[in-house]
């Protein structure tokens, strides 16, 4: 029985892989900085690419990565046009704390969104944070990186520049 199940799953995956295109930003509901419910599809504007970073208040490397991007952002914006979307994956309890942390870390130039039920995180198949993506103007994922080592943010600028 187990073998049959595995086989069925493998067949389904193979069939799907044959008819699929490149991964894009899925449309799920999240909260914006004001607390309003928005669809992640609305982040795609057809004009500028974006860096999407998944973080949480208990993920130290995530905070380090977003601090580093925030520090470099004014210089990067002179070289390329892009937006930064910081996705807090904190639970309902910690999402108010996440909002306070955003202020305390000066991440106000980012588009801050709150994925309280982790729907966006699941839809993007993020299993480990920090997880960062570079997405082109049409919502197609062109680069991704799991984990943060100081300096790995430099690759993001390179990818953004390739999209200009």
């Amino acid at each position: 029985m187990k073998a049959i199940r595995t086989l069925m799953l493998a067949a389904a995956v193979f069939f799907l892989a044959a008819v699929t295109a490149a991964a894009q930003i899925p449309a799920v509901n999240v909260e914006n900085a004001k607390g309003e419910v928005i669809s992640t599809a609305s982040l795609v504007d057809g004009k500028t690419p974006m860096i999407i970073s998944f973080w949480s208040t208990t993920c130290k490397p995530c905070i380090r990565e977003l601090d580093a991007i925030n520090e470099l952002m004014p210089d990067w914006l002179e070289e390329a046009e892009f937006r930064v979307v910081a996705v807090s994956t904190d639970d309902a309890r910690f999402s108010t704390k996440a909002r306070s942390l955003v202020q305390g870390h000066g991440w106000t130039d980012f588009i801050d969104i709150y994925d309280k039920n982790q729907a966006f995180m699941r839809a993007m198949n993020v299993t480990l944070t920090p997880q960062v993506y570079v997405v082109d103007a049409d919502g197609k994922i062109v680069y991704s990186h799991t984990g943060y080592t100081p300096g790995s943010e430099l690759e993001l600028l390179e990818k953004i520049k390739e999209l200009q």
């Binding site: 892989a17 008819v19 607390g35 108010t96 306070s100 039920n117 100081p150 300096g151």
Partner: protein
């Protein structure tokens, strides 16, 4: 039953694929997925008291696949435990296709059949979620419908059987949630005001003894909420929860002859704050009474949860700060304790670049205070014994392009017996976390930590050195040393490699007994020593 579900799944996966193959000029769907494997090879280690499990190995594996095509999506999760890692919920065994769903979503409307995750309000009444750190997955198998009318009214209705271990339980949940945004209806500019409410019915067959004592299989709980945010950055959130009827084993059975205690759960939550101009202030107060909510009344598993009641205090991230994290008191007759009350204050401030304290590169400061008490008397808000109190402050400054440092001080005081007596233990912890960049991609990070206490094993010290070669490699060595009484070293070392969406890490070392916490929820772990290999990837 199972077969029908598999057929449903395969159909659900195959239909959109077939449709996409037939439709000309339409955009293709896409497949997304992730795989995670976490393996530990255990060994006996007498200095720490670590005892390897019988087969010396633990392996948790997760494969998740999702297919999206326009408004349609479908997916499944396959889990395998060969066997489950030590101290995870033991009902996680072998391999199984545990979760599967089909879903249709447009701007206003969504329908999901199969497994889904969801929560009402802050989760005090109901939450279905996955947390692999905790071994938690109580996804509900059933159906859910949501509808949103112009951002003014959003409604949710669901029904299903929550997952418990590798199976779906026989417990049924039925619930509804509504949010009414008055500010959207009145078209207020810059102010958000919403009134929200939820209802949850839980149904589980009960033992005959409980029925004889007047117990009922069905119980309904409610939640009412107000949600206010002003454009200036001020916010207020309040929630009242009637948790429904609860049953506990009666510790006084021998004297009063009743096998069960029947209680009604209730909780109150207030969050108040201000977030603007580099300042983030966040105050939370909460009172809980008999707020245990189990999927199955007779299971003692740590994953047997139907609601989300996290400890409302700072969840620390450094080694020595996490020895005694606060675990929430939901009300336990055996402890003569009906619940807890308390609050927390968080303040964040960003001293901008160019200001006197901010200097050339800015400075960040964060302070936190929390305090919790048992309920002195059932049905009141009178504070009893101190359960937990902590104060912490951390300052982070980028001194130059190359050097950055963070200093943390934390004071933690905790009741030694879950509030049964008045005795507490006090500890003071300091941490220095320094990062130095030699080149834009080569850096080191050093953590130095000290814990001072008169209790337990007395003083500890710890150090961690990390060397990073961005963007791929990271190596660390660490040691926690108890020089107060046991003189045991808890050494560890590890390496990780990350490329694109794949990350592999290998580590070896000693791990102290204690708690693993995620999102304010904790599980107890025993000491273990071993080799850990972890791989995550997504596509």
């Amino acid at each position: 039953m199972t077969r029908t579900l598999y057929i449903t799944l395969i159909l659900a996966l195959a239909v959109p694929a077939a449709v996409s193959a037939q439709e000309e000029n339409s955009s293709k769907g896409y497949l997304s997925g992730s795989f995670e494997t976490n393996n530990i090879l255990y060994q006996n280690d007498s200095p720490t008291g670590a005892v390897a499990p019988e087969n010396r190995i633990g392996s948790n594996n997760y494969l998740k696949l999702d297919y999206y095509r326009g408004k349609f999506s479908a997916g499944a999760q396959l889990e395998g435990y060969f066997p489950v890692l030590q101290d995870y919920p033991i009902e996680l065994t072998k391999a199984k296709l545990t979760n599967y769903y089909v879903s249709w979503t447009d701007d206003a409307f969504s329908v999901t059949a199969g497994t889904f995750y969801d929560q009402f309000g802050s989760g005090l009444l109901f939450r279905a979620w996955e947390d692999r750190t905790l071994g938690m997955n109580n996804a509900v198998m059933g159906a859910r419908v949501t509808y949103n009318y112009k951002g003014i009214v959003s409604v949710k209705a669901l029904w299903g059987l929550p997952r418990m271990g590798m199976e779906f339980s026989d417990t049924q949940v039925r619930g509804g949630d509504i949010s009414f945004a008055i500010s959207e209806l009145a078209k207020w500019d810059g102010t958000y005001l919403a009134l929200e409410g939820s209802v949850l019915n839980r149904f589980e067959d009960i033992p005959v003894d409980l029925e004889d004592e007047g117990g009922k299989p069905g119980s309904t709980g409610y939640s009412g909420r107000i949600n206010f945010e002003h454009g200036s950055g001020f916010f207020l959130k309040a929630e009242y929860v009637d948790g429904g009827q609860k049953y506990y084993s009666n510790p006084d059975f021998a004297s009063d002859g009743k096998m069960y205690l029947q209680k009604r759960g209730n909780a109150q939550l207030v969050e108040l704050g201000y977030n603007n101009h580099g300042l983030g202030v966040n105050f939370t107060a909460r009172r809980l009474e008999w707020m245990t909510s189990k999927i199955m009344n007779n299971s003692v598993s740590t994953a047997n949860l139907l609601n989300y009641v996290p400890a409302v205090c700072t969840q620390y991230t450094y080694l020595l700060t996490n020895f005694h994290p606060y675990t929430v008191q939901l009300g336990e007759p055996a402890y003569r304790n009906s619940g807890e009350m308390g609050g927390q204050l968080d303040v964040y401030y960003n001293f901008r670049r160019g200001t006197a304290l901010g200097g050339k590169r800015g400075m960040k400061i964060h302070a936190n205070f929390s305090t919790y008490y048992t309920l002195a008397q059932e049905g009141t808000a009178k504070a009893g014994n101190l359960l937990y109190r902590d104060f912490s402050v951390d300052i982070e400054k980028q001194f130059s392009r190359k050097f950055k440092a963070l200093l943390l001080y934390s004071m933690q005081e905790q009741n030694t017996h879950y509030g049964v007596g008045k005795a507490t233990r006090l500890q003071n912890i300091v941490v220095a976390d320094m990062q130095y960049k030699f080149t834009p991609t080569f850096s080191t990070r050093l953590e130095l930590q000290y814990l001072a206490t008169h209790e337990d094993e007395k003083d500890w010290m710890a150090a961690l050195l990390e060397v990073n070669f961005a963007p791929y490699w990271s190596i660390y060595v660490s040691d926690m040393y108890n020089h107060g009484s046991s003189n045991v070293h808890y050494y560890a070392a590890g390496v990780s490699y990350a490329r694109s969406r794949t990350r592999v890490s290998l580590s070896y070392g000693r791990n102290k007994d204690g708690y693993v916490c995620s999102g304010g929820v904790c599980r107890v772990i025993s000491a273990y020593t071993g080799l850990n290999l972890q791989l995550t990837t997504s596509f």
